[in-house]
Amino acid sequence: MTAPLSPTAIKPPTDREREFAFAALSSPSTARRQARVARTAAAATGLSGSAADPSTAAGTVGSLGTPLAATKKKTTAKKTTKKKTKKKKLPVCTKKDLKKSKKKRRKCRVVKKKPVAVGKLPSPTGPAAAAPITTPGTGAWTPAPQAEKTDGLRTYRGGFGKGEATRLLFRAGFGPLPGQADEFAGLGVEAAVERLINPPAGAQLVGPAPDGDFLVGGNFAPEDHWGHGHLEWLDRMARSTDQLGERMTLVLHDWLAISASGAESKGVHSYIQLLRSGWRGSFRTLMQDLTVHPAMLEWLNGLGSRKGDANENYARELQELFCLGADRGAYTEQDVREFARALTGWTADWSDALGLHNFRFVKNRWDSGIKTFYAGKAYEKKGAFGTTDAVNAVIDHPMHPSYVALRLWGAFIPTAPTAQTLAELEALYRSSGEQLQPLVRAILLHPDLYNGPSMTKSPATYVAGLLRSRSMGIDTEAWTWICGQAGQMLWYPPNVSGWNERAWLNTTTYDARWSAATTIVNDWRVEEAAYVGSTETPDQAVDAALAFWGNPFVSTAHRAALLQHATQSMQTSYWNNARAQRAMRQNTLRMLVVAAPDHQVS
């Protein structure tokens, strides 16, 4: 698939080739089976999957008995001590409560339920919640070529303290666990980036497992229950040791977007898994695979597109959004039509019991005529092209590398690269055989990431960051509607162009982030009678609130505002009860740590 497109006749894919390729893709149980095997093997040897050992890299799991799980247990134990100060869980708000203003209903928990099943899908292998973190695939963990340190791709040489490490962990992951920012700062930038690219623990889930009556048999049921796809992934974001892997999966979900509003959840689940394993391989292979993935065939109307009645949807977005970009003269309306013809031939069956199934290429539905891609350009191609050729043609397009480089750069750095940096990223992309990983490494090491301005955390990043800062697991399905209102429900990007990363914040999404903070602060809030900090100074109060959130890095202005509140809140005369005031001061300070505007960016 990686051979360059020959200008002369290229054979269309045979049915056999297609069906073979498809069978490998369309069997989500394969990954689960492999992982289960790996998990068993790991449990037997007492070893977890390691980056150095590809045979166990496919493994996974928050299994007990591994060294990492032991670490996790420690964290849990610590939390349990704290939990003693936690108040009994509040009753769930009734409908009547919800009609009242939030202030008036503060004595109950808001739990929004949306148990709308997306159709009962058959799941022969049992609940998909057991699906582990899997399968980077062949060669996934082998070191990728290093960017040559030319001027355009130079490495950051400035100070790498807690602030820089925090930024790296939020840009390339979902924020630090308690102590992790200091730990990364101690590594220096190169070792820190290397640890993200090749995490020593591989891909494992560590920390408290999901807990709550919304689970199905103790697990998420992402293919059967609305919102569980979001929760299952948020859990990975919060707990995976492969933070960059989850981050890149999110970057690709946004870039190569499909939504469960337009594809069956079974397909979306397996598609996300394809992104998760595919990002470490070549982008060409990933594009070939996802082009004929069931969810994509459904989402962008590959299904039903046939000779004489080609559907243009995928042909357009393949070029406009996935590989080339709009408004830069990379393709014409005529190209959209020619590609649509090449992409014909895919179909599937549908039944009430199975939904869409039996996805396949049917040769007589394929337009076997001659198509001309990019007519009149130096890279014009003419032939009886099929699906594979169409994808190869966009990957071979001379404007493709710059599109990939800019998309990736923009996912991590909010300022434009210089022309030289861009050119070197493009060259690196081609010389590495269209690998994303070397580009990601070069970008994460680049001085612009550390010297440049802040970037807004996406809603899922913000929420996963809160969970990580407290070493918390998913214990409420409220995270579904909270992230949704904040503008980022996973599996549901607003349309095929993904989310608009420059419009995360407005008066509604800020309100949702506030709700996220209250969801945690309320469950752990300090009560007057229990509060031990009865003699604390304002500085100590601020430190206690920061400790509640795992001692995050805070800006000078932010710290000053916290301190001002710690001082002024004790000057209000009304309560006349220093102990009660100190408890309230602590509760409100905790809100001000993570609800502050300065905590929305990194």
């Binding site: 039903g304 408004d327 349309n495 162009s497 608009n500 509140h565 009304y574």
Partner: protein, 483 residues
């Protein structure tokens, strides 16, 4: 209760200003139109903070009530409201106004191009469109037909709105409409620039996007705008932080300190946006406080527990009817997303009519609601989509991206009738061709001339100052006696 005077902000402003250079963010996604999205560029933060600083020096900090009152008084002379209803995905114009009717001009071509899509429309129920009897309303649009028949409301129908060299991309085409120019690099919306001219630096309610997403049409450079999902429950509470009955509770102190941080100037663009949104959020709580005094419409209008556009339009009527000391809230622009998705590449029959009906019914209810409240004379509504779809249907029971699309302008002061003409369906290259070189419907009204006419005729604003490049475009006459 607002924070004590924030004199330190002026100093911060002076300190941080020279530290910033360059304008806005670069385009980071190659070839993508820069989203006119945040409404909150770094430049806006600088400008706004300057305004705040002056206010602090000049008059001391205002309370929320004083701030709102100042805006209301200022807006009295100019209280007209524009409501935009966006049909996301490129709606199929030929299924809104269908090219069959008493005049059979287009019917042979229609049967040739889209036998499935047009054949599925119940012709016996389709009301012929009076100004051009070769067209008929889709029966699902009965709500709009009722408005058309209502003598107190005018409906102006634009049968083919578009722009030169139509771009088949949703995102580019929509972006053009939103920024009011054929400019992929535009970062502010056409209503955002209007708000920048007439709006206030501290009144987020002046521009409202219903729902959680800020409409790029209202992306401003200078003044804040808001997105509201729940107009009556918008509030910020502190777990374990009781306010008590005293003049200032600990949560008030917390909010004051948070707002103090939020109004601290920074040269870091996205941090500036985060701070500005934080401050706007707390201002919005104050701006929406009086909504509780304005009752919601009875269920008979929008149905019981309306959702989506019906709920949003119901909320808008309520907002417009809210009074503070007898004056309306200083609202100028409102954006709503129509219910449903219109990118109907396949199975159009499954959703289109149902969605069209829901929207038209809700719009009809909205105008009845406004009339009952006596607010109808200050509202103008624009219904639009980024493009129309291809006249020729595809093999999936849908149709692909096209060019010319239908738009409507509705209001009690709107001159009822047709703007521009339906271009017909004759093939490109034939005499009187209605289709362009890409087999899409030729546009007959440039969308920018509609936006310019709204600015000039409804909002009394110099269109040339808001919309670049409209000087050569003819303006349709929008206003007049409805019937």
């Amino acid at each position: 209760m607002r924070p004590a005077a924030r004199h330190h902000h002026c100093q911060n402003f002076a300190r941080s200003r020279p530290a910033t250079a360059g304008d806005g963010l670069p385009q980071i996604e190659a070839g993508m139109p820069a989203p006119a999205g945040t409404g909150l560029t770094r430049r806006s933060m600088m400008m706004r903070s300057l305004g705040l600083g002056l206010a602090v020096y000049g008059a001391g900090a205002m309370t929320g009530a004083e701030r709102l009152e100042a805006a209301i008084n200022d807006a009295l002379a100019q209280h007209k409201v524009i409501v935009s209803v966006f049909f996301d995905g490129g709606w199929d114009a030929l299924s809104v106004l269908v090219p069959f009717g008493d005049d059979h001009t287009h019917e042979a071509r229609l049967a040739e191009l889209r036998p499935g899509l047009s054949g599925a429309i119940d012709r016996a129920q389709a009301r012929v469109f009076a100004p051009d009897p070769s067209l008929s309303w889709n029966p699902a649009a009965q709500g709009l037909v009722d408005l058309w028949d209502d003598p107190s409301v005018g409906v102006a129908v634009i049968p083919s709105a578009g722009y030169p060299d139509a771009d088949g991309s949703h995102f580019t085409s929509r972006h053009y409409w939103e920024v009011g120019a054929l400019d992929v690099g535009g970062t502010s919306g056409w209503l955002g620039r209007y708000l920048d001219r007439v709006g206030k630096p501290d009144v987020p309610i002046q521009g409202i996007s219903m729902g959680g997403y800020l409409s790029p049409m209202q992306a401003t450079d200078r003044v804040p705008v808001s997105a509201v999902y729940d107009i009556s429950g918008y509030d910020y509470w502190y777990p374990g932080g009781w306010r008590g009955n005293g003049p200032v509770g600990i949560p008030d102190v917390a909010t004051n300190n948070l707002r103090s941080l939020a109004t601290t100037v920074t040269g870091d663009p996205q941090l500036a946006t985060a701070r500005m949104v934080t401050e706007a959020s707390f201002q919005l709580v104050e701006d929406l406080a009086a909504v509780q005094t304005s009752p919601a419409a009875p269920d008979s209008l929008y149905g019981a527990n309306p959702e989506g556009i019906a709920r949003q339009l119901r909320d808008i009527a309520r907002l417009l009817d809210t009074r503070i000391s007898g004056n309306a809230l200083p609202i100028r622009c409102i954006s709503v997303n129509a219910q449903g998705g219109y990118d109907t590449h396949s199975d159009q029959g499954a959703s289109f009519a149902e969605d069209l009906k829901a929207n038209c019914d809700a719009i009809k209810a909205f105008w009845a609601d406004l009339k009952a409240r006596g607010e109808d004379d200050r509202v103008l509504m624009l219904c639009w989509s980024e493009f129309g779809r291809r006249p020729e249907e595809n093999g999936s029971g849908g149709c692909d991206h096209g060019a010319g699309g239908t738009a409507f302008v509705i209001g009690s002061g709107v001159k009822q009738g047709m703007i521009g003409e339906f271009p017909g369906l004759k093939a490109y290259g034939t005499a009187g061709a209605g289709l362009d070189a890409n087999d899409n419907l030729r546009y007959t009204t440039d969308f920018r001339s509609i936006e310019a006419a709204i600015l000039e005729q409804w909002l009394d604003t110099d269109a040339a100052a808001v919309l670049p490049g409209v000087s050569g475009l003819a303006r349709p006459t929008l206003l007049g006696s409805p019937h």
